[in-house]
Amino acid sequence: MVHLTICLPTRNRQAYCIKTIAALAEAETRDFEVVVADNSDDPAPLADYLGNRLADPRFRLLSPEASVLPMVANWERALENARGRWISVIGDDDYIDPRLVAVIRRYEVLHRDVDAISWECMSYNWPDNRPVPTLANIPIGQGTGANSTEALANQLFRWSERKRRPSVGVGIYHGAIKRSLMERIRKTYGGRYFEHPNPDWESSCKVIMQARLNIHSQRPFSVLGACAASNSAANLSPDVMKQRIETFEKETAGPISLHRPEFPFSLNNGGASICLSIAMTTSWFCQTYGVSLDGFGVNFAHAAMDECAFSADRDEYDAKAACFRNGFDRWENGRWASHFKPAPFKPPRTINQISGVLDDRLNVREADIGTATPAEFYRFGEHAITPMTSLINGTQVFAL
């Protein structure tokens, strides 16, 4: 059995996906496979590239089906076809280091029960996704340790940090999950690996609930890329956000609806944010599977206020505030509405501009460096973090 399967679900972003595949194919290690789940309208580019140009047995293509699949279904079939002992999912414009295989082996020796591995991710905007000044970032922490399930659950389910995004980095998306844990998840939660339109955050919820031991590395092994066509590109422009949400809703329709009366916030009327999207997912999971939401109402109100503070201009602020206010007014008869008191809008002067070391991350002005893909950025970043060989060898002593 191959040790690691990297699942690469993709839809209509063949050019990026091919670059990602090419970067993964450069790896010398043989003990991994890549399952490309193509959900594109045109099957030819990836079929031609993987079948004729790359011809690498480590890569398998799942061709598009007769009709476009919801994203969650495309993820599901990728997992169903994975053969590895460990499984990871990344986006088609991301990168993951296949030498992760050796890291997993080392963690398995050091921590016998480990069944979930997470890490801090680098982030990178492709050159075509820089309508405003942008920063890439490289986590520079060096520790590795076991995550406390209770702490993770508080952060993700109860939003205990009160920040716009829970700092939880656990799950199959840019993480590695042991097959046995994925099978347990499928068995426990309705016979599917993924149910919700947001399968990445859904996976975080399920892994936190079911993992025996989660090991977290502060050293990154992957890059969250954002190309011009990606959902995360919407963070840089409200107009793009609106378009992406329309497409997202259309293409993610699956067994679970994004919109539920139990959490009556809406992504449709402007002001949508990733913060809200995550909350829709975590609240669905908790309400569906009986996980305590104690503290969520007040904490989420603060997280929403934090999200409003990250507005590039007055219009964006007003739209976000209205979106949250509307939801809080309708949610549980306005029980939490009084806690949502966003600070008045203050024009930001430094969004995406503060390069340098901040909060255990090295922020890099992307326009001033020579990288063109997430894979190139990963190699760039590796010059400033613990070398992979040292990590795999368990090196403890370094010369200054």
Binding site: R349, S355, V364, I369, P387, L400
Partner: protein, 377 residues
Amino acid sequence: MTPLSICIPFGRGQDGPHPAIGAMLQSPRTDFEIVIANADDSPGQGGQTLSAFKDDPRLRIVAPLKGAEEPCDEWNHLLAHSRAKWITVIGAQDFADPDICEVLAATLKRVPDADVLSWGRAEFVAPHARIGQTIARIPTGSRLLAPEQTEMMRRLFYWEGASDRPDCHFGVWHGAVRRDVLERIAEAFSGRVFEQPQPDIDNLCKVTMLAKRMVMWERPLSVRCVAPEDTGKGPDLEAVKPAGWKDFPFRPETGVAARTAVAIEAFKRRYGIELDGWQDDFIAACARDCETASSGDAFHARKAAYERAILEWAGKRAVKSFKPEFRRKPKIPRFQGVKDDELHFDMEMDGTRDAAGFYRLINALSFPVHLLDYKLA
């Protein structure tokens, strides 16, 4: 008056600073000038000629000094032709960011009587000169500090808190000094601003003694190109030790600590300054100088040279306190990451090939210059 003159002395037969000039002139700023002395249009590094920049008024090429004997002559010559209020001097293969003007403006808003501005160190080894993996270190801080002059004098002349060199960098060499401070230096000392075979350290001594208001920005604003076994030769000098110093048997070529100490001694002796109590910290700096050696052979050679000099200078007891350790064993990987407010990274990062390219990289990794004023507001 132009705010900043960047003077670039370079010796005869040495490659000219053409790539660095090209990179500096890419700046949209108009409030700086680059001053060099050059007689012909011979190609510099990379085969580029100065004629490529002839229409840019920010580059001032003055006639070389006839009969110049020492590097400090050219330094004085360039200074005489510079027009700006603040002066900085860099080497031919170095780079200085014209945005120093931005930092000066933000500094003068808060410290109107600032005499000298220093900034974080950044050193670059050209790819062909590297021996094995080469790690760069740059400061990660972005605080604007105003240290006391007395503290800086202790750091320079008493070697307090020194690494392999004194932790005091308030001079024109990869720093910016106000012109009237340089004029006061000429008046207070010998009538010449730059003297001695090592004008960088000579100037450091004089500025530290005369400047009352010193400001330091932790972030690098320039890059010094060095060789891996660099003895700190700096601005293309021949570090010649004055004759007749039997009581100070250190040779400049031994290492950066020795070279610096020789230059400080030259300054002190010339102006009759006698100090005591600095010897122990200087010996510790000699040990650290040995520890920066990139190979075992270089370490042992440097250690032996220092041992001989210390024994002759201060006797057996002093040698006992000199205990350098070579820690860079080839099998031990080098540290990469952030430690003690410094980012350590492999110099291969982004494949930079010269000081200007390296600065472009560290600029992308550092606090943005244009936000300094906002940060301080």
